[in-house]
């Protein structure tokens, strides 16, 4: 996780599969302010490419995708302005 990024909200989606990983991330991001950062934790490998791709297609910025412990990954998304 990039050191200088302030995370405003975390969403643990371990156990969720696509497309609900994106659907739930989107629902939470909609409730956040523009420019804020959401950290999503997933353990479903396809979500590490699907969620970032869908987020970018909606105009949000994916800051990082990386490992987050055993069998889990984090996706950092900054909500578009």
């Amino acid at each position: 996780m990039p050191e200088d990024v302030q995370v405003h909200r975390e969403l643990d989606l371990k156990g969720e599969v696509c497309p609900y990983t994106f659907v739930k991330s989107k629902l939470v991001l909609e409730m956040m302010e523009p420019g804020q950062v959401l950290r999503v934790i997933v353990d479903y490998p396809p979500a590490t490419s699907n969620v970032p791709r869908s987020m970018e297609s909606e105009g949000h910025k994916v800051l990082a995708v990386g490992a987050a412990g055993e069998g889990a990954w984090e996706i950092l998304v900054r909500k578009k302005d």
Binding site: F22, K26, E30, M31
Partner: protein
């Protein structure tokens, strides 16, 4: 944590994924109230898709009972519903599809006496009526009440649709000022109608209503969409608001609701091509 239940998230996931809908749009659909007038050929697919979409409150107006000859196109009803009120079979079908929708039924015939009360609490009105008298009544009432109306008609292999946004585009009378004389346009009973055209046009009505609620895309306001199913062709005719329109023009002459007495020659379904007297199709 989420603004929807787990069940709703799964049920509406394909909506929420869409950029133009999302959770924000799905909430608009849930908060919306749509009145479908007529539980027949057009009203069936329109109401089905609106219920499936999660419209919060769906009103259904119809005073008729199910006839065996309806079932070729009126897909809300089943064979075992023959003889039962259409609003009852509509209620059953829509609630079975989506128990999250509040279905309100009115077993009444639309009239000058009840139309204003019926439309008052609704955001969008869908016209699935089967005769010109009611069609004009609904147009006039929606113009007077400022309610968006999604109008459609079918006959034989033809369908037409226009969305009426009072004050922002033409109303039905801007294009067709008066109903055709009784008997000029045959009814579906006389002329026949291919069942699936009701599905096409009624489904388009549901789409128009959904777009109006979401505030996305371009509605068919100011454009008549004509569909010729035999040729497999859609056509559109532009229409402008008529300053001389008797109901929405600058000096309206119709200021009270009218019920036309079109005798027993009432067409069973609004004619696809509309009345014979056409005005300002450009």
């Amino acid at each position: 944590m989420f603004p929807f239940s787990e069940e709703e998230i799964v049920r509406y996931s394909r909506h929420i994924i869409l950029q133009e809908v999302g959770g924000v749009g799905q909430r608009k659909l849930k908060d919306a109230r749509v009145l479908v007038v007529g539980a027949g050929g057009l009203g069936s697919p329109a109401a089905f898709y609106l219920a499936a979409a999660g419209i919060g409150t769906l009103g259904i107006v119809d005073d008729d009972v199910v006839d065996l000859s309806n079932l070729q196109r009126q897909i809300l009803h089943r064979t075992e519903d023959v003889g039962k009120p259409k609003v009852d079979s509509a209620h059953r079908a829509l609630t079975a599809l989506n128990p999250g929708v509040r279905v309100v039924t009115y077993r009444e015939r639309l009239s000058a006496a009840n139309v204003m009360d019926l439309i008052r609490d609704y955001d969008v009105i869908v016209d699935g009526v089967d005769n010109f008298s009611t069609r004009y009544l609904l147009n006039d009432a929606c113009v007077m009440a400022g309610k968006p109306l999604v109008d459609a008609g079918i006959l034989r292999w033809d369908g037409m649709l226009m969305t009426i946004r009072p004050g922002e585009g033409p109303c039905y009378r801007c294009v067709f000022p008066e109903p055709p004389p009784a008997g000029v346009i045959p009814s579906c009973q006389e002329a026949g109608v291919i069942g699936a055209i009701a599905g096409v046009m009624g489904t388009l009505q549901a789409l128009e209503a959904i777009k109006l609620i979401l505030g996305v895309g371009e509605t068919l306001s100011g454009r008549l969409l004509l569909f010729d199913a035999l040729e497999g062709r859609f056509r559109q005719v532009n229409a402008a608001q008529d300053p001389d329109c008797p109901v929405c023009g600058d000096h309206p002459t119709i200021t009270e609701l009218i019920e036309y007495d079109l005798a027993c020659e009432l067409p069973e379904t609004g004619a696809a091509a509309g009345p014979t007297e056409r005005k300002n199709p450009s």
